[in-house]
């Protein structure tokens, strides 16, 4: 009886995984297909779609926009996230619970709602859509992730280590850069990668917020799909997968290295 039950669970698990990962595998597989149409059957191995991709101006422009947007989002989100965490964890701030909840809230609110809300807010202020506002949207959206990661780490950094540094003559600022920040580094790195990846992947908010003429990789793919299913999209998908999976893995490896060295 028990054996049968386990078999069923195992089969079900496999099915779920297949359902999740098969489409991704298919995209990757088809991106190397020599066939003119982005679908089965495979007619041979070819890198032609990647070559075409690298010659497609619209895609390259979208790529640059996405990279810039992701990098700026990561930088701003991480800086704000570290500052906010310090304030919330290390100092008594009046109303800190409310502030904390507000900062985390964007995770809980459905993205569409958040997107519309921000858009309406901009309308209300009669601000036109622009790249900085798109960036702001991404920062709001990624900040909670950074905050959660950095706060968790900051809580585990003992206060007396910082106090020891100050007693030895380091000013609060020097203590932060000499002690707190290096110990926080794995979390800062993880937060930045999270922010970059989320921003790089995002489509819902971006569709609402982006000014006319600006495309990110996801919105570009979306636009291309409206005309036809080009095999280039498979190649682009493969590149996206590489970035959004590869980067966090890389970051994880680096964080582990740092941790090993410091033995924290």
């Amino acid at each position: 009886m028990r054996g049968w039950g386990w078999q069923a669970i195992r089969a079900w698990t496999l099915l779920v995984y297949a359902f999740m990962f098969l489409p991704i595998a298919v995209v990757v597989l088809l991106s190397f297909n020599a066939n003119q149409f982005g679908s089965f059957p495979m007619t041979g191995f070819s890198l032609q779609w990647f070559v075409e991709l690298s010659q497609n101006d619209a895609i390259l422009r979208a790529f640059r926009t996405s990279l810039l947007l992701g990098a700026l989002t990561a930088a701003i989100s991480t800086t704000l996230g570290v500052l906010a965490s310090l304030a919330l964890v290390r100092y008594r701030v009046p109303g800190e619970n409310i502030i904390s909840t507000m900062l985390i809230a964007p995770i809980l609110v459905p993205e569409v709602v958040l997107a519309v809300a921000l858009l309406l807010f901009l309308n209300f202020l009669s601000l036109p859509k622009s790249f900085p506002l798109l960036l702001m949207g991404h920062v709001i959206f990624t900040l909670p992730f950074v905050l959660l990661v950095v706060q968790a780490r900051l809580v585990s950094i003992r206060r007396d280590v910082e106090e020891a540094a100050m007693s030895l003559g380091a000013s609060p600022m020097q203590t932060f850069f000499q002690i707190t920040l290096p110990l926080l580094m794995p979390a800062v790195l993880a937060g930045a990668l999270f922010a970059f990846t989320i921003s790089f992947d995002d489509i819902t908010g971006t569709l609402f917020w982006k000014p006319g003429g600006v495309e990110t990789v996801p919105t570009q793919i979306f636009a291309m799909l409206r005309n036809s299913i080009s095999p280039e999209i498979n190649a682009l998908g493969t590149v996206m997968i590489l970035i959004t999976v590869g980067l966090p893995l890389l970051g994880l490896a680096i964080a582990r290295k740092i941790n090993q060295k410091s033995g924290a």
């Binding site: 280590v161 106090e163 020891a164 540094a165 100050m166 030895l168 000013s171 110990l183 060295k261 033995g263």
Partner: protein, 359 residues
């Protein structure tokens, strides 16, 4: 080098008063211990001296200078924390050199001073290691080296030994005292362990619930406790109610119902007044059990029956009933301990007693 003083210091957290009005003076080079049970305000006092907490009222003075408004990083203090607080991402040598970076010290001198500090704590070859690679005791030595290498005006230690296991704690205690003697730095040491306090201190400040109960040398607080709390916190004592019948400059005579008339040296009963109530303090170690009919010169003897025997290795703690009173005695074991229910005689010398004035 330096003196430290607290002047009418009070510390409140909201409505809760952690330290009631306290004044203390610590001489240059003195080893002062703040001793008391958990929550009595020892750490609070230490952190106010360190500059990690602001006193609600009163002044903190170092070398006679009011330093309330000097931030911690300008106070030139060495602090050793209970959990070592080493920088995990820096090597031992970098840890020890940390404070020197903020002082006007050449590279060569820095290396020399780090080397000397590591020698002093007997870990000369550990410079390249990371703290994680060291044992607890070794980490605490490095923390000490890091604190003293800057030649602090005052060394502050908050229960630095309590994270170590019992054997190591004894070794470190001796080591710490040796180093402190050697460099002669004024030291404030916080502990709740009375044997640590007695063994190490020049001066003990016994605290209870935010108040200073008594300040004195280890002998003074041990032999002439100033309050019932002190008598019981530093080892176990029997405290018996009585009346003072006579008192002069050299001795006081106290009548205790169970024991009769006891003569106590005046030095051990400073607060007793003739005609008033008094409490006789009889240390458990000074009350000696003997066979039922034993006679001893020069001692007071009373009969009793052993009620509880608490065997502790080389010593044993007895609870003995004598009349209506239960008395506590801690004796070295000679041959075999007395058994439960055995009738015994209890002996003590009058000059080993101390007395407190009644409240």
């Amino acid at each position: 080098m330096s003196t430290v003083a607290l002047e009418n210091v009070v510390k409140r957290f909201g409505t809760f008063t952690a330290v009631h009005q306290t004044s203390l003076e610590m001489d240059d080079g003195e080893f002062v211990t703040l001793l008391g049970p958990s929550g009595c305000g020892k750490t609070t006092n230490l952190r106010m001296i360190a500059g990690l907490l602001d006193p609600t009222e009163g002044n903190i003075l170092i070398n006679g200078q009011r330093i309330n408004d000097v931030p911690i990083h300008k106070r030139n203090l060495g602090i050793v924390f209970q959990n070592y607080a080493l920088f995990p991402h820096k090597t031992v040598a970098e840890n020890v050199a940390f404070g020197l970076k903020y002082r006007d010290v050449s590279r060569a001198e820095m290396e020399e001073r780090v080397r000397r500090a590591l020698d002093l704590v007997q870990l000369p070859d550990s410079g390249a290691k990371y703290p994680k690679a060291l044992s607890g005791g070794q980490q605490q030595r490095i923390a000490l080296a890091r604190a003293i290498v800057i030649e602090p005006s005052v060394l502050l230690l908050d229960e630095p030994l309590s994270a170590l296991d019992a054997n190591l704690r004894e070794d470190m205690r001796i080591e710490l005292k040796r180093i402190q003697d050697r460099i002669g730095v004024t030291t404030v040491f916080v502990t709740h362990d009375q044997s640590e306090a007695l063994a190490m201190s020049d001066k003990i400040v016994v605290m209870s619930a935010g108040h200073v109960e008594q300040v004195g040398t280890p002998e003074e607080v041990y032999n002439a406790p100033g309050s019932e709390f002190v008598a019981n916190f530093l080892g176990a004592s029997n405290i018996l109610d009585g009346t003072c019948e006579q008192a002069d400059g050299t001795a006081v005579l106290i009548d205790v119902p169970l024991l009769g008339r006891i003569t106590v040296p005046r030095a051990k009963a400073p607060a007793v007044r003739p005609g008033a109530g008094a409490k006789l303090v009889l240390r458990a170690e000074k009350l000696v059990l003997a066979g039922e009919d034993a006679r001893k010169e020069d001692t007071i003897s009373i009969p009793g029956v052993v009620e509880t025997v608490d065997y502790q290795g080389q010593a044993v703690r007895y609870f003995v009933r004598s009349g209506e009173t239960q008395l506590q005695a801690i004796n070295m074991i000679d041959e075999r301990p007395f058994a439960k229910g055995q009738p015994v005689s209890l002996h003590f010398r009058q000059r080993d007693c101390a007395a407190l004035g009644a409240e």
